[in-house]
């Protein structure tokens, strides 16, 4: 279980996140939805240790992970697939994937091979590109690479920041299917940040709506899907592209 307990984040002197409370239970996909600039990425980056929260604690299965730098947080079992994919364009697909388990690589070389096989089974289209540079892949393949790389460390929870960004609907649904596999087959918890609310509500168990750095609505998928405020603000005109 991931527990976020009163977390606030400042960037410079500006308070971006205001006492955020939420949790992800084992076996759940939790969606965080909100408009541009609502603080979604700031929240994920804080969970991943890229920002240090100015108040509150983050606990992952009884282990406090807040206050650690990002390179330690991933060792503790939280993996972030950042906004814009951020794959290493100068590295091959294989190198990208293997770096995903940096902290374990030297200790568990066999696991590296196993995980590589597992990820390639999950994303077969990456197989033929193993020796290609990450920068040469299509947008959809890059997103799969970014997710695969995030899974290489066998995280307890994986955070995805707008994986659908700039992708064709068909690819978006492929990625959503993968999230179900991650949840069901790997048993990994998932936090999915999306502007494509319709898509997010297809796969999540719980959803939180964030606005100006505060969680304003939360509930199960069905509750959120039928919430009038959500319908008018996020599922109305905006869902046209989904």
């Amino acid at each position: 279980m991931l527990k976020v307990d009163g977390v606030s984040t400042h960037i410079g002197k500006i308070k971006i996140l205001h006492e955020i409370y939420f949790q992800v239970e084992k076996g759940q996909i939790v969606s965080i939805i909100g408009a541009n600039g609502a603080g979604k990425s700031t929240l994920l980056n804080t969970l991943a240790g890229l920002y240090r929260p100015t108040s509150g604690t983050i606990t992952l299965e009884n282990d406090v992970i807040s206050g650690y730098p990002a390179n330690k947080v991933v060792e503790k079992g939280l993996s972030l697939v950042p906004e814009g994919r951020q794959i290493f364009s100068n590295l091959t697909v294989k190198e990208n994937l293997l770096l995903g388990m940096f902290s374990k690589y030297y200790k568990e070389k066999k696991l590296a091979e196993e995980n590589l096989t597992k990820i390639l089974d999950m994303f077969p289209s990456l197989k033929k590109h193993l020796k290609n540079l990450g920068g040469n892949l299509s947008g959809g393949e890059q997103q799969m690479l970014a997710i695969g790389r995030g899974l290489m460390s066998n995280p307890k929870i994986i955070l995805l920041d707008e994986p659908s960004m700039g992708l064709a609907p068909k690819i978006v649904y492929e990625i959503l299917d993968t999230l179900m596999i991650i949840k069901e087959d790997l048993g990994t918890m998932v936090i999915l940040v999306e502007q494509n609310v319709k898509a997010a509500l297809k796969v999540c168990d719980q959803a939180y709506v964030i606005d100006q750095g505060r969680i304003i609505i939360n509930g199960t998928r069905d509750e959120i899907s039928s919430n009038p405020q959500v319908i008018s603000a996020y599922l109305g005109i905006k869902s046209a592209g989904a």
């Binding site: 390179n71 060792e75 950042p82 951020q86 100068n90 590295l91 940096f102």
Partner: protein
Amino acid sequence: MELLMQYIVTGLTVGSIYALLAIGFVTVYNITGILNFAQGEFAMIGALTCITFVNAGLPMYASIIFAILISATIGLIVERTAILHARNTSVIILIIITIGVSTFLKGMGLIIWGTNPKQLTPLIKMEPIHFMGAVINPQSIFIFIVLLILLAVLYVFFEKTYIGSALRACEKNPRAAKLMGINPSTMSALAFTLAAALGAIAGILITPITDATYEMGFLIGVKGFVGMVIGGMHSIPGAVAGALLVGLLETFSGGFISTFYSDAITFLVLILVLFFKPNGIFARASGERV
């Protein structure tokens, strides 16, 4: 013709020395964003430490290895003390710190080894070779071969090993590298250590030709830096090519104009490059998908 050949040989020899420094510069710069102006001092430390061991009766090969190891350790210590604790300040401050470190190391060199130039017998004792009218010092050939071997080793290290891929990831996208579990501070330590070792090798290689003094590091370091800038500041091959060019430029301008002006001419070229081709003279348009 003979002169031309002689200048080429000499130019490539000093250029190879600058190249080793330039590789250190570019590696540290790519990984940490810092221009390490203490880089040249490691040539001094390497050379003088090696001479000290040789004079104490150690065999040449052992002296060289110890000198490289000691220089690398000092490089690591510099990174862990002067750089690490200032890591969150601006890059400009970090660069100024490296200038301070440079002055400090030079001062230590002066205290330990004094002002007298010191000599080192060449590793390979051979008569000079006559080739197309030029007289080639066997040490020059040795320097060139060492450079080629090191380039091959570095290529394998950066391109074919796992830790090398982590270093390249850190160069490209330090934030994403951090998300992989790569500690940028470890990579920074690695870069400084590697650069110090390369500097030491350069110092040890040049000493049989020019002798070593406590202040030898400055000019070598600056020339290595110029080589890196001319080569575009982003790749080892670029830095090496730039440094070889600096070596050639220096000997040719020294030979055809005046040795008195050869340094000035080198810097003139640096300024021209910065002005007209700020990405280095080997820069080419590179397409990249985002």
